[in-house]
Structure formats: structure tokens, C-alpha cells
Amino acid sequence: MTLFHFGNCFALAYFPYFITYKCSGLSEYNAFWKCVQAGATYLFVQLCKMLFLATFFPTWEGGAGVYDFVGEFMKATVDLADLLGLHLVMSRNAGKGEYKIMVAAMGWATAELVMSRCLPLWVGARGIEFDWKYIQMSFDSNISLVHYIAMAAVVWMFTRYDLPKSFRLPVTVLLALCVYKSFLMELFIHAFVLGSWTVLLVKAVLTGAISLCSLLLFVSLVHSN
């Protein structure tokens, strides 16, 4: 619509990242370059994923409206590389668990924000045409920040040697949920034909539930020994 509208969307998308960075104390650790490194890892992982997808997954040429269940599932499985990437970032940083998780998640999420939402916002939100989707996109970026923090926490727990036996199952389940979340969402949309605001709400609720579970697990793990 106008530059002002772009400013609105931009603020909605970016300020939570900024607030999180400032309030989580990462700025005191001088973790900026660590976050940038995590972002670079994100780029590298995405590139690998894209190459892999382009090589082994030919474009689906089925009829319109038909949902390619197996194909989409396989594609979502490639997202396992994200877990590997997050692990890589965390293993290269020394420090407390929270610190490692926050650096990896912040870098990862910010890189995604810059790469996949900056340009659509710049091009779309400034045009004459008004559309709610840019506001929705900005909300979505807030949700994905929470999502990546939870995901990093779960990965961190999963890779610990001293993970108690009883934690193994819930952590693995959460891990799978994190990876297949977008796949599940798509399935949801396809099955119930949801409106865009409802999709956003469902996504927020799902992400909230996953992150609450991982928080509970994390807290009990950290304080159990």
C-alpha cells in the first residue's frame, strides 16, 4: 500500500527478534558474530537441501487438487537436515546449554527471516494493492522464531550423552513433530480447507504446544542433576 504499511509489517516481523536478542542476554555475551555464523550455516544447509530436492525429487505432475501424500512426506523428511545443521552450530559453540540454544536458534531464525520474508515484504507491502497476507507473514515470522528456539532446545537435549532413558521417547517425538510440523499443517489445510487467519491460529497453537513441552522437558532435564 504505502511505505508506512511496509514499516508496519517490518516492525511486526523484526522487533520481536530484536527484543529477544536484547532480553535474552545474548548481547552481553557478544554473540553477534556467533549468530551470523549460525545464519551462514543456515544458508549452507538450505543450499544443500535445495540441491538434494532438485536432484532426487522430480516435480510432481499429478492432477491439480490431488495431494501427493508420499511425495510431500519425503520432502518434509529432507528437513531433517535442519536438525543436523542446528546440531553443527551448537557443537561448534562452547558454553552453557541455554546460550548455545539461543545463539543457534536466533541465527537460524533471523537468517530465514532475512532470506525468505524480507523481499516479499519489500515488494508486496509497498504496492498499491492492500492485502492482509503481509501482516500474516509478519506474524508467521514471530511464530517461526518460537519454533526454532524450541527445535534447537530439543536438538540440544537429544544430543546430550547424559539424557535419561525416560526422556528418550518424548524428546524423539518432539523432534519428529518439529520436523514434520509444516507437513502436518499442509495436511490440515488440505483436509479442512482453512482460511488464512485460521491457519495462522492453528500454527501458533501447535507451535506453542510444542515449545511448552520442550520447555518442560528442558527445565526438568537441567534441574534434575
Binding site: M1, T2, F4, H5, G7, N8, A11, L12, F15, P16, I19, T20, C23, S24, W122, V123, G124, R126, G127, I128, E129, F130, D131, I135, N142, L215, L216, V219, S220, H223, S224
Partner: protein, 561 residues
């Protein structure tokens, strides 16, 4: 000052490469990135007529439109684009919009004109000349209705009509939920088309027996006229006249190929262009033939000039004359023959003569024969319309269903019979009134007429759209050439210094309707986002609280271990 600035930039480039990136990439992005043309709806619009005739401007003078849409019910219309549907269109509303200095007017026409109630069609027909009679500063466009456009109209209507007595809160809610539409045309400003050529066609059948044979001229103009050039199909006016002329040419060319039926009259056929613009094509043709050449059929012995105009409907035929013909002249003979043929062969048809003097003080000539009358050639116009003022002659509603092929063929038959009786002098030879000449293989072919009318009314033929290379002209030339000899094309261009007619372009454009929100909505949104971010800030600040709750919840579980 500039040197200092360049020094600063130089240093910046040299000292830190990344900094230049940070500074320049966004700057380049801001400058380069085009605003996307992804519109809610894109549709074709047809602009109202814009032309100058004899130095007098007519129609809309503007083509550029970039304003927000309103319906006429809204309280403030100034600098807004007023959209109306044909169903609720009236001259009062149109005038109200213009009086309130609206930015533009867009009139939505139904996809299928013939399904409209007859009184609305009639009313609009009569308004068309009114709308064109003076110049309009703002652009006026016509669009064809579709579902998207209708939805845009209804949304605009609800937002326009409900802004009366509402509380502040309701207005705020309204701004957040309602959609506004920004109408934008993509084209440039309209400008005069210089050197526009109007094409006319001429062909003849030469008589036999002697040097100084009398000539009968048959004339019909082929161009159409309506409030919007791209929508004027002109089926009855004057597609019917042109198809009758071609049918007459076909019939008489057949007669003229046999020695026994080759008559002592020259037949000159003229398909004129620019007929709706004061018969410009005819005017120049007469000037060329009478003033600039030494020998022309028009200079010598013209029996009469028969103009055909709007003949595809109705149960009456009117012979419009500017001077009642005297007894003993060929035109009197034709009048009598027409009367005889109509009375004896088609008793249901009414034939009458209408007398109207040429009014030279008028801006526009009434009928085409007046062009010939001014040059002292005996002429008359045949039409089913009783008056030249009737709106059927210049309406976008004049489409194919307005022509009844049966009636057109009957009229053609009457004219052909009467002409033949004059040419072969049959009445003096004692032929009875119900003698049918054009029968069997010589009869008027309805399929032929209907194919011609179909083809002519399949495309808009406004004078601004038919240039000398257009398919209308070339196809007409082909048809004329099939039956007639010495086919010539006449091009006329307006005088450079003192043009008699000026046409303007940008008559068909693409219009985009962008969904927009008012500026107050942006402010509202900014406040909401600020509140949300504030809440986020507090939530993250007090994350420790959530953490300790989680700890307390998990504590017993840990103890159980």
C-alpha cells in the same frame, strides 16, 4: 560542497567495502524496485468519444485516471472515480457526479445488452447525444460487467452508502474491514491523431448508348457512431444501408452484363466514410469531383442521388427530401415508382415523403443528401426513421438484433424494383405495379444481406477506428470490386492548419482496480502493532516467571525419580 561529498564517498569506498554494500544496496533497491502491478482485478474499459468538429470540442477531454472508487450515493464525490451501473444510470446522477467535480466516471454496461429492459435501453440511447453534446473535462469510461467488477461495485456501494450517521467506533471498525478500490488506467494521456485518413470507396456500372448518359448515384456511409467508439457496432445505422447498397450493386451488375438489359443509365455507387462526422467523406468527394477535375460523372447529367441510411427495421419507408421534386424530373419518377411498388407489392408497408429544408445555421447536417443538396445535385435519403433526430442513429445500443433481415430484404426489394422501373422506364411502357422484376435467380438474397450485416456488426466501425489499412476497408473494397468497375479509394485528411475534424486516441484501455485502505487504517494498524510489540516485550522480559512455573510443575516429577 559537492567535492566534500564526493570525498566522503571516496573514503567510504576505500575504507570499508561492506559499508558500501550496506549503504548502496538498499538505495539501489529503493530506486530500482518497481511497484508491482498485481491488481485485484484488471479489465478493459472503453473511453467516451473525444473529437473536435469544425473547431468545436466534443466528448471527454481526458484519459488518465488514478483515483479511489465511489458510487454516486456517497456524500463526497470530488476527485473520486464514480462508478455506476447502466440499470441505475440517469442523467441527473451523471450531472451530479460532474457537478461535484468527480475525478472520473465509469459506467458498467451489462454483458448482454439485449437482455436489458427496453425502457432503460431507450433512456440510455436518448442520453448518449446529451453526454456528447458538450465537452467533459474528466475521463468517462465504459466497462463490461463481469462477476469481479460487480463485486467491486457492491463493495464500493456498501462503503459509500453507509458513511452517513455512524459513531466514531463504527467508522473505525468500518475502515478496518471495508475495502476501498483505487482505479488506475495504464495508458497515457489522449492526444490528437494527426494525419488520420478517412477512407471512402467508389465504384460504377457504366450504361450503354451514347455519350451523355444520365447518372444515378447510390450512397451509404459505412461508419458507426456511439458514445464510446469501441462499442459502436452500428448494425442498423448504417450496416443495413451498406449491405443494401452492396445487394443493389450485385443485382444491377447482373442486369448490366446482358446486352438486352444493359440500360442507358450510369450507376455510381459510393460507400462513404466519416458519415457520422457531418459526412466528411461525401463532402470531400464532391469537392474533388466538382471543383478539381474536368470530367466526372457528377458534373454532367446526374439524374438523382439516393442515399441509404438506417433501413433494417420498421414497417415504414420515408423519403427525406430538402426540396419536393417537381413533376417530370427523374427524382419525381423515382418517388412515384417507390409509391407504386410499395402500394402494390407490399400493402402493409407505409411509404411517405418527409420534407425538411437544409438548415445551414445548424452545426450538423441532418441527412447525407443535404451534402449533395448544397452542391445543387438532386438528392434524397431513404430511411425507416421518420426524423434525423432519433437516437437509433448514434447509439451503442444499435447492435445486431436491431436489424430484422426480413424487413431489410423487403426494403431492398422495393428500392431495387423502383430503381429498375426508373432505369427501364417501365411505367411509361405500361408495366403494372405488381410486376416483379427481381424474382427467381435475380431475387434479393436474404443470406447475402444477413451475412453482410453480421460481418459489419461484428466489429466496431467508428470512424476513429477504421484506418486505411483496416480489414473493414479492405473487405468492403473486395465486395465492391466483385460487382463494380473502376473501384477507387478516396482518402481524406483534415487540413493541418484549420482541421475540420480531429480524432483522439486512447479509446480502449486496461483499467486496474487495486484494493486499498484509507490512511487512518495504517495509523490504526500501527497502534495495534505497537501494543502487540509492547506485550511481547513484557512477555520476554518476564520469561523467568514462566521458567519458574515450569520448574515448579516439573519438581515433583524429579522427586519421584
Amino acid at each position: 560542497m559537492f567535492e566534500e561529498a564526493s570525498e566522503v564517498f571516496d573514503n567510504m569506498f576505500k575504507s570499508s567495502f561492506p559499508l558500501t554494500f550496506i549503504v548502496f544496496i538498499p538505495a539501489v533497491l529503493i530506486l530500482v524496485s518497481p511497484l508491482p502491478a498485481e491488481a485485484a482485478h484488471e479489465f478493459t474499459v472503453y473511453r467516451m468519444q473525444q473529437y473536435d468538429l469544425q473547431g468545436q470540442p466534443y466528448g471527454t477531454r481526458n484519459a488518465i485516471l488514478n483515483t479511489e472508487a465511489r458510487t454516486v450515493e456517497a456524500e463526497v464525490l470530488s476527485r473520486r472515480c464514480v462508478i455506476m451501473r447502466l440499470v441505475d444510470f440517469s442523467y441527473d446522477k451523471y450531472q451530479k457526479a460532474l457537478r461535484q467535480s468527480a475525478g472520473a466516471v465509469v459506467i458498467i454496461l451489462p454483458q448482454n445488452m439485449s437482455s436489458m429492459p427496453q425502457d432503460i435501453v431507450q433512456q440510455f440511447m436518448e442520453l448518449e447525444p446529451e453526454m456528447l453534446s458538450t465537452e467533459t473535462i474528466v475521463p468517462v469510461y465504459f466497462a463490461m460487467e463481469d462477476d469481479e467488477l460487480l463485486s467491486i461495485y457492491t463493495q464500493t456501494l456498501t462503503s459509500s452508502s453507509s458513511q452517513g450517521a455512524l459513531s466514531a467506533a463504527e467508522v473505525l471498525l468500518h475502515t478496518a474491514t471495508a475495502n476501498g478500490f483505487q482505479m488506475v488506467t495504464s495508458g497515457a494521456q489522449s492526444k490528437a491523431m494527426s494525419d488520420w485518413a478517412i477512407t471512402s470507396l467508389e465504384g460504377r456500372l457504366t450504361g450503354v448508348g451514347g455519350e451523355d448518359l444520365p447518372t444515378i448515384v447510390v450512397v451509404a456511409h459505412y461508419d458507426s457512431f456511439g458514445v464510446a467508439p469501441w462499442l459502436s457496432y452500428g448494425a442498423d445505422s448504417n450496416g443495413s444501408g451498406v449491405s443494401m447498397l452492396l445487394e443493389l450493386a450485385r443485382l444491377f451488375s447482373k442486369l448490366y452484363t446482358y446486352k438486352r438489359t444493359h440500360a442507358g443509365y450510369n450507376l455510381l455507387f459510393f460507400v462513404s466514410g466519416g458519415g457520422k462526422f457531418n459526412y466528411q467523406g461525401t463532402k470531400r468527394w464532391l469537392e474533388d469531383n466538382l471543383d478539381h477535375t474536368d470530367s466526372s460523372l457528377l458534373q454532367d447529367n446526374v439524374a438523382f442521388v439516393l442515399c441509404l441510411d438506417t433501413l433494417g427495421n420498421g414497417d415504414a419507408l420515408h423519403l427525406h427530401v430538402s426540396k419536393p421534386p417537381k413533376e417530370g424530373t427523374p427524382q419525381y419518377a423515382l418517388l412515384k415508382e417507390l409509391e407504386t411498388v410499395a402500394a402494390s407489392q407490399y400493402p402493409g408497408m407505409k411509404f411517405s415523403m418527409v420534407h425538411k429544408k437544409i438548415n445551414l445555421a445548424d452545426d450538423m447536417l441532418a441527412w447525407e443528401h443535404e451534402r449533395f443538396g448544397i452542391r445543387r445535385l438532386p438528392a434524397f435519403t431513404l430511411s425507416h426513421l421518420p426524423s434525423h433526430r432519433l437516437a437509433q442513429r448514434s447509439s451503442i445500443m444499435d447492435v445486431r438484433p436491431h436489424v430484422d433481415i426480413e424487413k431489410l430484404s423487403r426494403n431492398t426489394k422495393v428500392v431495387a424494383e423502383a430503381l429498375a422501373r426508373v432505369i427501364y422506364n417501365l411505367t411509361e411502357k405500361g408495366a403494372s405495379g405488381d410486376l416483379h422484376i427481381f424474382t427467381e435467380q435475380m431475387q434479393v438474397q436474404e443470406e447475402h444481406l444477413s451475412a453482410m450485416v453480421d460481418w459489419l456488426s461484428a466489429q466496431p466501425r467508428a470512424a476513429q477506428l477504421v484506418d486505411k489499412d483496416s480489414s473493414v476497408v479492405s473487405t468492403l473494397e473486395y465486395h465492391v470490386g466483385r460487382y463494380l468497375k473502376d473501384v477507387k479509394k478516396h482518402y481524406i485528411k483534415a487540413d493541418k492548419r484549420d482541421p475540420e475534424f480531429v480524432f483522439y486516441d486512447q479509446l480502449k484501455q486496461t483499467m486496474n482496480a487495486y484494493r486499498v485502505k484509507p490512511a487512518i487504517f495504517d495509523l490504526l494498524l500501527a497502534v495495534c502493532i505497537a501494543a502487540y510489540l509492547g506485550a511481547m516485550y513484557f512477555a520476554i522480559q518476564n520469561f523467568g516467571m514462566l521458567y519458574s512455573i515450569a520448574r515448579r510443575v516439573t519438581q515433583p516429577k524429579v522427586k519421584a525419580h
